[in-house]
């Protein structure tokens, strides 16, 4: 009897990888993920559908319906011929400006945030705690309230309306959250690693660059997601501080979408929005492989 049961078990046991078996729990996991994904995708579906409908169809108010006359004209228009004031070049115009703002701002704000977080969790210089507390308070002031004094400061430093100016501004606004992000991440790492590196003679920068930074990939990914998205989608700060030669892509986007009294082309708006989001979306997709598993693995017994 035992014998038979054993055989059954062996036969029934999925041979290769147990973890991929279709257990009820796994089905539940997929069910949840699929339902959640559908909910998350619903607005995107509406946006996509709207973006390929002619305005006549949109006016009908059949939101979820697939387009009768599918048209890519809105996409073309959004990309290359939508008007913002005199210019009718679509949103492509500011693309490189946006890149020129996003790349250095993201790198700088992440770098400073990481250094701050690292210093705060491992070195704790005198007074840093107080600075950090004030910084965190600052995160709660509406950015718009800060614009006026910042304009005056940057103007005094002759940085107003310049690329360095807007990069500094993004770094300033990103600092509280970036610092917090890295501080908390580093606080969870085993202290022994830091101690070992100190014994190895590592100074402040060495330990940071060669030990901590390589261990920070998951959090750097998150930080990059936040900063790239935030800075890429910002237009107010860009508009105020970047100067007219460096206006980011979103200024055009906003101009296309945000008209008050002019006619509104929803299909073009949606296409423009999706187009503008392509860069952050690409980042999200690419970032996946940097979410590595098991950072602390093998470092410390605990």
């Amino acid at each position: 009897m035992d014998h038979l049961i054993d055989h059954d078990r062996i036969a029934a046991a999925p041979r290769p990888r147990r973890s991929l078996a279709w257990t009820p729990a796994r089905i539940g996991v997929y069910a949840f993920l699929i339902v959640a994904a559908l909910f998350f995708l619903l607005p995107l579906y509406v946006m996509l559908v709207t973006s390929v409908k002619p305005m006549e169809e949109i006016r009908l108010g059949t939101l979820f319906a697939l387009p009768h006359n599918l048209t890519l004209e809105p996409w073309r228009q959004a990309w290359s011929s939508a008007c913002t004031g005199l210019e009718c070049d679509g949103i492509r115009g500011g693309f490189w400006n946006s890149v020129a703002i996003v790349v250095p701002s993201t790198v700088l704000s992440i770098a400073i945030g990481a250094v701050n977080g690292y210093a705060l969790s491992f070195w704790r210089p005198r007074g840093a705690g107080v600075l950090f507390a004030v910084l965190m308070m600052g995160a709660f002031i509406p950015a718009q309230v800060m614009i006026y004094p910042l304009v005056r400061m940057l103007a005094a430093a002759s940085l107003f309306s310049s690329l360095p100016g807007i990069i500094i501004i993004h770094t300033i606004f990103g600092m509280p959250v970036m610092t917090l992000l890295f501080r908390n991440y580093y606080a969870a790492l085993p202290l022994e690693l830091f101690k070992a590196a100190r014994i190895d003679g590592g100074g402040f920068w060495r330990i940071f660059l060669q030990l901590m930074l390589p261990m920070s990939t998951p959090v750097i990914v998150v930080a990059a997601i936040m900063q790239v998205t935030g800075i890429w989608n910002d237009f107010l700060l860009g508009l105020v501080f970047a100067g007219s030669e460096h206006l980011p892509m979103t200024v055009q986007l906003n101009n296309i979408i945000n008209t008050t009294t002019g006619e509104r082309l929803y299909n073009v708006n949606m296409a423009a929005t999706i187009l503008t989001s392509i860069v952050p979306l690409a980042l999200y997709f690419i970032s996946g492989r940097w979410f590595v598993r098991g950072i602390a693995s093998g470092a410390v017994k605990g």
Partner: protein
């Protein structure tokens, strides 16, 4: 307190300079500036006069302001809880070595990349009783389907919660995921031996280990709550009536549209103090606990 280590590297102080400058000039500076403006009669431009607390008095006589505070409290509570719960769940489920992990992660994260100027409009449509879900349900034959929160005085604020949770929970997921990936594999093994159901491991072991990630997420969401603006403007414009007004919108209205930066500054200061009143005790409790080493 014991004696402090004297050997904190000089480099550590150098490294803090950008932060110190930012804090002193940008943050402390603007905070003081804002405080100063809030006791002046400034309109479009800051003026140097002193009018005492009159802006504050006016502020607290303003029904819309009081309503905004009330709204943001309700909104904040729901938003933070929902985002944390959903974000955590998503992270956990994605962490089950599922297929198409990358695609799913992107699906949950993409709303974060979209400007609310457009997605807010879409949400407005979806929630609109004449266009959106309610209409679809009715067309499907469910004649008295009722989903008209967005036009309902009492429910409008919840629609803001739905849309902003949709937008932000992906970010929480990413944060949690980065925390989850830092949990040592051996801990999982130990829990499997102990026969602890996976969900229980998450709740009792992993979640406490994710405290740093959680607290980051919490602060982030809290900041979003205090600053919530785009979604409201795009979806309800604070309406119907003033049912979904929020402080940030109040401040923005007075800052620009209504050209009264004195009142806007007073509101900012009040908002900041409110946040402090909420955060300070949490912070205090935490640092106390950390100091006692338990």
């Amino acid at each position: 307190m014991t004696r402090k280590r004297q050997s904190v590297s000089f480099a550590a102080y150098i490294a803090m300079i950008p932060m110190a400058l930012t804090v002193l000039l940008a943050y402390l500076g603007t905070m003081l500036w804002t405080a100063r403006v809030s006791v002046s009669s400034s309109r479009t431009f800051p003026s140097g006069d002193f009018v005492g607390a009159s802006q504050y008095i006016r502020l607290f006589n303003n029904e819309r302001w009081l309503l905004s505070l009330q709204n943001v409290a309700v909104y904040g509570l729901l938003f933070i809880v929902a985002c944390l719960v959903i974000g955590f769940l998503l992270a956990v489920f994605i962490d089950q070595k599922v297929m198409a992990e990358g695609a799913l992660r992107t699906v949950f994260l993409y709303p974060y990349a979209m400007s609310f100027v457009a997605t807010g409009l879409v949400w407005q449509w979806i929630l609109n009783p004449e266009l959106g879900v309610q209409q679809v349900l009715r067309q499907l034959g469910w004649a008295d389907a009722q989903f008209d929160w967005i036009v309902d005085q009492d429910m409008a604020i919840y629609t803001i919660v739905i849309a902003t949770v949709w937008q932000a929970s992906g970010l929480v997921m990413a944060l949690m995921l980065s925390g989850l990936r830092g949990v040592d594999e051996e801990i999982w093994k130990a829990a499997r031996i102990d026969g602890i159901p996976r969900w229980r491991v998450y709740v009792s072991i992993v979640l406490p280990m994710l405290k740093p990630s959680l607290s980051t997420a919490f602060v982030l969401l809290f900041v979003m709550v205090v600053k919530v603006f785009d979604a409201v403007v795009a979806m309800t414009q604070g309406g119907p009536g003033t049912a979904s007004e929020v402080p940030a919108k109040f401040i923005m209205d007075y800052l620009f549209g209504r050209a009264n930066i004195g009142l806007a500054s007073a509101a900012s200061i009040v908002l900041l103090l409110t946040v402090l009143a909420i955060v300070a005790p949490l912070y205090f409790v935490r640092s106390r606990r950390a100091a006692s080493g338990a």
